[in-house]
Symmetry: C2
Subunit: 156 residues, 2 copies
Amino acid sequence: MSSDPPGFELPLRLFLGFRVLIDELHAELARQGHPDMRPMHGFALQAIMRGGDTAVELGRTMGVSKQAAGKTIETLERLGYVERTVDPRDTRRKIVRLTARGADSLERSARIFDDLRRRWADEIGEERLRALEADLRKVTPPDVFRLDVPGWFGGQ
Amino acid sequence: MSSDPPGFELPLRLFLGFRVLIDELHAELARQGHPDMRPMHGFALQAIMRGGDTAVELGRTMGVSKQAAGKTIETLERLGYVERTVDPRDTRRKIVRLTARGADSLERSARIFDDLRRRWADEIGEERLRALEADLRKVTPPDVFRLDVPGWFGGQ
DNA sequence: CACGATAGACAACCTGATTGACTATATGGA
DNA sequence: TCCATATAGTCAATCAGGTTGTCTATCGTG
């Protein structure tokens, strides 16, 4: 009977797989006119689309402080991916909205991710890829957009 | 015929899987007497064991500058995970070595990772888990320790 | 023995996160 | 109606971890 692989390989492979996909996404995004996009920006834009329409909301969705979310929005605004307008019904709030450029980057990202998935399917087989996705769904939280992603690696 | 899942789910699931394992590792490490360990520390300690016995070497192994590696070593030294001695044959070099505490943290990590892997195997089946690992090996770089991990997310 | 390469340290700077404090605006209850 | 409290956004200080550039000490070789 063959022994199990060491447990430490699994997280590393998961991370490497993630990293490979994200790196290829951004290499291709750069080729398609979005050289300034960073991994975090895609997550933030997604979070903004799904109801994170103010700094506080975005912070809640991404699991960071409202100040950090505000800085991210500032960066995205400077890069031309979002714009802010005041909420006429509550002048404290500043509504964040994707610009055409922001929407374009998300559409291209979706297409590129589909292409990358197809390449993995070619490599390991569509059946195996579906199984891999189904298995990961079993061992990860259901809501894929509640990432709490930024800064959890290494920080404090 | 059923349509493919959207491509963007794959990287997110990979990341979430990674994150779940790392978070549980560190929760358990904290319970076992290593509350100060951060994800990066584990990688650095591993890299130090595998031939990264000076700042320059560690930097090369981890894909960061020697200055960044030096800062990491400083942190690990302050936390009591490594110690530095001068190389008697080359007084420029300062040899980094794991302390007993550093070695203990790696042994515990290995055991915890094995336990976590077993839990995944219970959940999705040993066969499926082996298939998942094998498939990921096909689509990721061979050397699992050359991560270039720090700072690639969001940087520039 | 002198010169080029290497190891480590120091400084300045960048990014992205945090907490704390402050201002302005809403909102709900006495 | 008015005041207390909660909320949105911003500013400032701080931290971690990364970068590049510079400097010194030491090594090793032609």
